[in-house]
Every structure is written in structure tokens, then in C-alpha cells.
């Protein structure tokens, strides 16, 4: 046992918890984290970039920079989660034929837990927060989100959770309880180690951050729209952002409650979800899925928004059925709160309850179907250009329908009883979340990248990435449908039926292709950065975009719009291009602009959050208390700051804006056929 003094200083942490793990692969991953961390620190020191990192990024309250940082987190975590998926697939394929164990059952448990947790909370969520952060103010013609400081705090809490989950690779073990962390398995009696605590605090940190971000998005849409931007004139991406924000405001608190009550059970011996003393696991199932089901729509609605923008732009048409798309989005948002019990049809509620929830689940197919038809009809008779984002959209349309149909199968409670714990379910939700969410975010990333950085991404590598992701997706998950129907269970490190083996190997190849798809994205980024002069689109409208964000230089200035735009219809910028000259000299004076002043407090709050959570995980109480007090202390310190904004003089704004406008006027609009060539400097020819 740990001696008294050492416990007060280091809690339960011991030397044996560091670095060396149960098997070679885990130890390798652990060392890798340390090496990469050291390499990053060394690189920053070597190039003398610490000051730059602090001044330009970590203290920035600019929604655009915060959005970019969210997406960087997402990509880093994606690399980890896909690598884990490959290890899991290799393990199952090797073990099926009676071969050797690659990682062992315990580590396999950690792998599917971290894979799920990371993919949901640290890949998909930061990605959507990042996209919305970047685009929302631009699309509604605003200078910023309503609460820039709170926005930065939300980001800080998100990376704090991500750092904690990365630390768990090296210091101690992660939970083996699945991303949903079901008690009683995650209770102290069955999971006495630190793993579940890592899950609890990383998810709680990021969950609180997300709640703040959701409030911010909702308020921004309600209060910061530019003159004339009625709700029914907003781009569809803003509508999905609004519905997502509302879902976040109502659905994240259940997660906070579920994880906090689990923490009370584990830390203070309470009995919410224990087996004995009046605890009941069903409380947890209800609380968790009251969050968990809306969560899948939090993830998928912004992707629907991306598809709407991508499909309409690359079809050269306005969105078909705008109103029905808005209505369908709202219907989905509302219905998402009425179906949580379909996640535990098999857990003992009455047949009538199951029937009601099955019925509600099937209803969601209706608005979703409306959307699919609207997108198809948007393409109908359009001038479609098969750019990489558009190719992703087409893969999505096909595969999403398959996934939706498998969901309708599962929404039938008797069928669900047969398939619930099988790989069929795994196939279903990956079928929804990869083409539905991840492809959407990747397409959005490629589509808006030139807006954020001023140069296009390399189109050829974009297509290669699309090919790999598409092939990988089908190879990885189509076999799982068959395996599930053959009876292969999920969450098991070994299956003993030799008939599974060929399917598992196909799935492994699929996982490898998906990883290659990720690598292709990295290559695309590197290649494009190297050729950024040739790919530059500083004028800002390389695809003949339709919404306001394209009526800014690329990258946009800190203040987004020199003068807040005035809007008279949907797709205001498209109409302006069709009927007039958006770049014509405008009369009227420029005014001084107030922008938020940089502050390091959000970053400090994130660091204090890590300290607090790490202390709690390892029972290092002094560290937990110091971290907690520091978090609130920094917040109080912020409340004493009176000069939170700085003024950008009108002359500066005028100079920058006039320079951009005159440059845009001088540039010749390029026709669509050559929009992927160097001739395109950000002014695409509008469709006649």
C-alpha cells in the first residue's frame, strides 16, 4: 500500500503507472504520445514559436481562430481513434482463426472505449464546433459570436478533456466500460482502477465546454443577424447550427448529471446505479441516452447543413425545398428527444413502452427522407461539378439511405432483440456516423478551407482521399452487417466461429483503407500548403458561393465585414452577383470597429481544468482543489477586467476593404470549367 505522506502528495499515482503497459502495442502508443509531445515542444522552442502560439492563437478570442483550433484538435484525435480501430480489427481478424491474441481482452476493452469516446467527444464534437464557430458569424453577417470570451473557455475545456484522454494513454489505464460507461460495470466494485475516472472527468470537462458553446451559438443566431437576415433567409447551415445549439442546451445537461452521479457513486459511495442498496442501473441508462440520442443529431445536423451548402453550390442551383429542409431539421431536433429508449429495448421495460419508442424512432425517417429528396432534387438539372466535397456528398446520399434502412430495422423492438448486441448494430451506427457526419465534416473542411486560409486544397489528393474513404467505409462496415446477422457479438476481442474470419479480414482491409484515407487528407494538406501560391484565392469566392461568407476576402479580416451587410433575400450574395456587381464601390462612411482584446485567461482555465481533473482521477486532492479554485478564480479575475475590447480605426478598415474590392474588380471571373486551375484567384464566374 501507499504510505501516508506519499498518498497526500501523489495520491494513488505510482511509478508503475507510468509509460509501461500491459502489452507491446499499448506501451508503444504510450511512448509515442510522450515522443510526439516532446517533439512538439522541441519544435516550438527550436523555431522560437512559443510567443507566436501564445499571442496569435492561445490568447485569441477571434471566432475564426477558435474554429480552426477546434478542427486541429479534431484531426489530431482522429488519427488516434482510427489507429485504435485498426488495432481492434486486426485483433478480431487474427483471433477468429484461433490465432494469437494481439492485444488481449483488457486492452481491447480500453480500445473500444477510447475509440468511441474519442470519436464522439473529441473528433466529431470539436469538428462541428469548429465549423460552426468559423462560419456562423460570417454567414449571418456578424462580426463575432455573442460571447467571445465564453467561446474561448468552451474551446479550453474541450482541449482540456482531450489532453486528459491523451494523458491516460501514458499515465495509468483508461476505462473498459465502453463509451457509454454503463454501471454497474463502471462502479467501483467492478472497475476499481482509475480508468472510469478518466472517462468521467474528460467527458465532464468537454461536456461543460460544449454546453457553453451551444448557448453561445443559439444566442448569436437569435441576436446577431445582420439587417434583413430574417430567420427564413439564413443559409441552411445556420439553421442546422441553430437546431444543434438548441439540442446542446437541452441534451448536454443529462450527460453532466449522469457522469456526476456516477462520480458520486465511485468517490463517495453513493447508490445511484449500484447493484445493491437501492441503486438502479436503469437510472443511468435513461440519463445517458437522454443525452446520447439527441447527441447523434447534434453530430449529424451540422453535416446536413454542410451537404445543403455543398450540393447547392456545386450544382449551381439554389437549394430545392428550402422551407421543407428547415422544417425537417426542426422536426428531427424535436423527435430526437422522444426516442432515447430505443437504446435499451432489451433492458426490461414493457412491450407497450418499446412499441411507443419504436414508433417514434421510425418517424424520424420521414423528415430525413424529405431531406434526401430535397438534395437529390437540388442536383436535378443542375450544372454539377464533381469536386471532392461533391463526391463525398454523393457517397453520402447512397450510403446514408442504407444506414437509415438498417436503423428502421433496429427500431422494431422484436428485431432489435435479435440484433442488439451484435456487430449489426456496430455496422448501423458507423453507417450513419461516417458518411452522415464525418464525410460531411470532411467535405465542409475542403469546401471552406480556401475561405479560412486563402488557398484551395489540392483537388487530386482530395479525390484520392474520397476514393479511399469511400472504399474503406464500404469494406469496413458492409461485412459487419453480415457478421451481425451471423451472430458475431460486438465488444468481444475474440470470436470462435471460423466462418467469421474472411469477413473480419475484409473489414480489416477496410479499416486500413480508412486510415489511408486519413493519410491522404494529411498529404493533401501538405501538398496544398507547399503550392499555396498557385492555389491562392485571396479574393474569396472560388466556387461561386451563394451565402455571405463568400463575400469576404480569404482569409477574412478579423472584423469579417467592413460594413455589416444588408440582406433582402435567401442567397443574397448569389443574387447580388447575378443582378449587379457586389464588388462595386460603395458609398457611405466606414466606422470604427470594436473587437475583443486578447486574453490568456481561457487557456489558464483549461490548464486549471486539467489539473483539477487529473487530481481527481488519481486522488491527488490538493491538486484537485487547487485546480478547481483556480478555474473559478480566473473567471472572477475576468469579471474585474473593464477594458475587454479594442478599437480598430475606420481608416484601417477602409484601407483594407478598398484594397480588396479594387483587387476583386480587377480580377476576371473564371468560368467553371477551369475553376480548379491556377487561373481561379477567388472569383468564379456566376451562372448566367
Amino acid at each position: 500500500m501507499i504510505s501516508g505522506l506519499s498518498y497526500w502528495i501523489f495520491g494513488r499515482l505510482e511509478w508503475s503507472d507510468l509509460l509501461i503497459k500491459s502489452n507491446a502495442i499499448a506501451t508503444g502508443a504510450s511512448c509515442m504520445v510522450v515522443i510526439v509531445a516532446i517533439a512538439i515542444v522541441a519544435l516550438l522552442t527550436w523555431t522560437g514559436r512559443w510567443g507566436w502560439l501564445w499571442r496569435e492563437w492561445l490568447t485569441s478570442l477571434d471566432h475564426k481562430r477558435i474554429g480552426i483550433m477546434y478542427i486541429v484538435i479534431s484531426f489530431i484525435m482522429m488519427a488516434r481513434a482510427i489507429a485504435e480501430a485498426m488495432v481492434m480489427r486486426t485483433q478480431q481478424a487474427m483471433a477468429a482463426g484461433g490465432g494469437t491474441d494481439l492485444v488481449g481482452a483488457e486492452h481491447f476493452g480500453q480500445l473500444f472505449t477510447t475509440h468511441g469516446t474519442v470519436m464522439i467527444f473529441f473528433v466529431a464534437m470539436p469538428f462541428l464546433s469548429g465549423l460552426i464557430n468559423y462560419l456562423l458569424p460570417l454567414q449571418i453577417g456578424a462580426r463575432d459570436l455573442s460571447f467571445p470570451f465564453m467561446n474561448a473557455v468552451g474551446l479550453a475545456l474541450t482541449w482540456a478533456g482531450a489532453v486528459l484522454i491523451m494523458v491516460s494513454l501514458t499515465v495509468g489505464d483508461f476505462s473498459t466500460g465502453g463509451w457509454s460507461a454503463y454501471p454497474p460495470f463502471t462502479e467501483l466494485a467492478f472497475s476499481p482502477g482509475e480508468g472510469v475516472d478518466y472517462w468521467i472527468w474528460s467527458v465532464t470537462l468537454t461536456g461543460i465546454g460544449t454546453t457553453l458553446t451551444g448557448i453561445n451559438f443559439a444566442v448569436t443566431i437569435y441576436k446577431e443577424r445582420c439587417p434583413g437576415m430574417h430567420l427564413m433567409r439564413m443559409p441552411l447551415f445556420c439553421w442546422t447550427a441553430l437546431c444543434t445549439a438548441i439540442l446542446i442546451v437541452f441534451a448536454l445537461p443529462p450527460l453532466t448529471v449522469a457522469s456526476s452521479l456516477l462520480a458520486l457513486d465511485r468517490y463517495l459511495d453513493f447508490h445511484f446505479f449500484t447493484n445493491g442498496s437501492g441503486g438502479n442501473m436503469m437510472n443511468y441508462a435513461n440519463l445517458f441516452w437522454l443525452f446520447g440520442h439527441p447527441e447523434v443529431y447534434i453530430l449529424i445536423l451540422p453535416a446536413f447543413g454542410v451537404w445543403s451548402e455543398v450540393i447547392s453550390t456545386f450544382s449551381g442551383k439554389r437549394l430545392y425545398g428550402y422551407r421543407s429542409l428547415v422544417l425537417a431539421t426542426m422536426c428531427i431536433a424535436v423527435l430526437s428527444f422522444t426516442v432515447w429508449m430505443h437504446h435499451f429495448f432489451t433492458m426490461g421495460q414493457s412491450a407497450n413502452v418499446n412499441a411507443a419508442f419504436g414508433f417514434a424512432t421510425m418517424l424520424i425517417g420521414i423528415p430525413t427522407g424529405v431531406k434526401v429528396y430535397d438534395w437529390i432534387l437540388t442536383m436535378y438539372r443542375g450544372r454539377i461539378r464533381f469536386s471532392a466535397p461533391m463526391l463525398f456528398a454523393i457517397t453520402f446520399l447512397f450510403s446514408f439511405v442504407v444506414g437509415g434502412l438498417s436503423g428502421i430495422l433496429l427500431s422494431n423492438a422484436p428485431t432489435d432483440f435479435a440484433m442488439h448486441n451484435s456487430l449489426f448494430l456496430v455496422a448501423h451506427f458507423h453507417n450513419m456516423l461516417i458518411p452522415g457526419t464525418l464525410f460531411g465534416f470532411i467535405a465542409g473542411y475542403m469546401y471552406w478551407f480556401p475561405k479560412a486560409f486563402g488557398f484551395r486544397l489540392d483537388e487530386r489528393w482530395g479525390r484520392i482521399a474520397w476514393g479511399l474513404w469511400t472504399a474503406g467505409f464500404f469494406a469496413a462496415f458492409a461485412p459487419l452487417y453480415s457478421l451481425g446477422l451471423m451472430g458475431a457479438m460486438r465488444r468481444t476481442s475474440q470470436t470462435y466461429d471460423p466462418a467469421y474470419e474472411p469477413f473480419l479480414y475484409v473489414a480489416l482491409v477496410g479499416a486500413a483503407l480508412l486510415f489511408a484515407g486519413f493519410v491522404a487528407l494529411v498529404v493533401q494538406l501538405v501538398v496544398s500548403t507547399r503550392h499555396r501560391d498557385r492555389l491562392a484565392v485571396p479574393i474569396g469566392d472560388p466556387w461561386d458561393g451563394r451565402a455571405l461568407e463568400w463575400f469576404t476576402p480569404s482569409p477574412p479580416p478579423e472584423w469579417n465585414f467592413a460594413r455589416l451587410p444588408q440582406v433582402e433575400c435567401i442567397d443574397a450574395f448569389a443574387r447580388e452577383k447575378r443582378e449587379g456587381d457586389p464588388y462595386a464601390p460603395q458609398d457611405g462612411d466606414y466606422a470604427d470597429i470594436e473587437m475583443p482584446r486578447n486574453t490568456g485567461l481561457p487557456t489558464l482555465i483549461g490548464m486549471a481544468g486539467i489539473a483539477c481533473a487529473f487530481g481527481l482521477v488519481w486522488h491527488i486532492w490538493w491538486m484537485a482543489i487547487v485546480g478547481f479554485v483556480a478555474m473559478w478564480g480566473f473567471l472572477v479575475a475576468r469579471s474585474f477586467e473593464s477594458r475587454t475590447t479594442r478599437t480598430i480605426p475606420a481608416a484601417t478598415v477602409r484601407e483594407a476593404n478598398e484594397a480588396w474590392l479594387s483587387r476583386a474588380r480587377m480580377a476576371r471571373a473564371v468560368p467553371r470549367e477551369i475553376e480548379f486551375t491556377a487561373a481561379n484567384t477567388g472569383r468564379a464566374e456566376p451562372l448566367a
Binding site: S146, V249, V257, L261, D269, H271, S639
Partner: protein, 209 residues
């Protein structure tokens, strides 16, 4: 935007200034949205309590044995009164040019809030003395967590008041402090609303059962 128009209930602060109104709008609205989110937490804790108070007894004390009506009556009185004095503070903020009235009513509110938290702590101690600790049963876990979360919110409100009392005299924070007091008032009244739900579910139902 016409200056005389009532833009949003409760934010016509002192002098009529359209710029201040516009600046106040998202802040107050945002706080309402936050409160909705917070309310979900209480709703879920109440639902958990409702389930546990029936199925989580585990041979331990029942809601009827735990519900201390006289104590709850005093607590209710204290909290409702503090909501009233908080309203007086916001009225003073709006109509009294000096800050003396505002300070006084905030102080009274804080004292009442403190008394409320103290009473609850005393209740908790009394229950623990009878062996009715949260570790005893699922029901008691839910009881302590629900009431504890509410008490924690009230305590956070008290800390907030302390910080604001400190900031009240600083002229450079004038506008910020006004808006903060309005949000604090919203927060405080919401805790009152939550308490009424707790009173009904925990104490009145408990006493009947």
C-alpha cells in the same frame, strides 16, 4: 431603434440609452438560455429523486421519515423572502441613483441566503446523526444530491454577491455590474422556483407518504 421603446422586460436600466440596450440584450437573453440548461439538471435530479424515493429505499428511512416539515417551512420562508429582497435590490438599481439602497438590499438578501444554506446544513447534520447518510440507500443518495445541488447553487449565488459587492464601487465596471446584478436576480429567482418544486416533491409528498 426608438429610445423610449420597452425593448426587453427588465433591461431598461436607469437612463435610456439605445446603445446600452443593444449591448444588454444578448447578455440577458443568453443568461435565460443558460438558466434553461441549468433547469434541465434540476428536472433530471427531481426525476431521479422521484424514481429513487419509491424504488431506492433499500430498507432504510422512507421519505416520510426524512421530511422535516417545520424546517422546510422556515427554509421556504427564508428563500421566498430573499427573493423579495432581491427584487427590492433590482428596483433600487433601477430607480435609486445612489448605491446605498442597492447595497443594503443585496446585503439583506445575502444574509437570508446564508441563513437558508445554514438551515440546510443543519438539516443534513441532523439526518446524518440519525444514520440517514447518503451512503445508506439510493433514496438518500438522491435526497442529498438534489438538495445539495440546490444548496450549492445558492452558495454560488452568495459568492457571486460577494464579488459584486466588491465591484459595486468601481466606476469603470458600472455598466457591467448593472447587468450582472440583473442576471444574479434572475438566477436567484430561478432557485426559488426550483425550491418550490423541491418543497412539493420532497417535503409535501414525503409528509403525505
Amino acid at each position: 431603434m426608438s429610445a423610449g421603446k420597452n425593448l426587453h422586460p427588465g433591461i431598461n436600466i436607469g437612463h435610456v440609452d439605445p446603445g446600452a440596450h443593444r449591448a444588454a440584450e444578448p447578455v440577458i437573453f443568453g443568461f435565460w438560455v443558460f438558466l434553461m440548461s441549468d433547469l434541465v439538471i434540476f428536472a433530471l435530479l427531481l426525476a431521479t429523486y422521484a424514481a429513487m424515493s419509491v424504488h431506492g429505499i433499500a430498507g432504510g428511512p422512507t421519505p416520510a421519515q426524512v421530511a422535516d416539515l417545520p424546517s422546510a417551512a422556515i427554509e421556504t420562508g427564508l428563500l421566498l423572502l430573499s427573493s423579495f429582497t432581491m427584487s427590492l435590490a433590482t428596483v433600487a438599481l433601477k430607480y435609486r441613483p445612489g448605491r446605498a439602497h442597492l447595497r443594503r438590499w443585496l446585503a439583506v438578501t445575502a444574509v437570508l441566503g446564508l441563513a437558508f444554506v445554514g438551515m440546510e446544513a443543519w438539516d443534513f447534520a441532523k439526518l446524518a446523526g440519525q444514520g440517514a447518510v447518503p451512503q445508506r440507500s439510493g433514496f438518500l443518495s438522491a435526497h442529498f444530491t438534489l438538495l445539495g445541488t440546490h444548496a450549492l447553487h445558492v452558495s454560488a449565488g452568495l459568492v457571486w454577491m460577494a464579488v459584486l459587492a466588491f465591484q459595486l464601487g468601481r466606476t469603470e465596471l458600472e455598466d457591467l455590474v448593472r447587468l450582472r446584478i440583473m442576471r444574479l436576480a434572475l438566477f436567484w429567482h430561478l432557485l426559488d422556483v426550483v425550491w418550490i418544486a423541491i418543497l412539493t416533491f420532497v417535503f409535501l409528498f414525503g409528509a403525505v407518504g
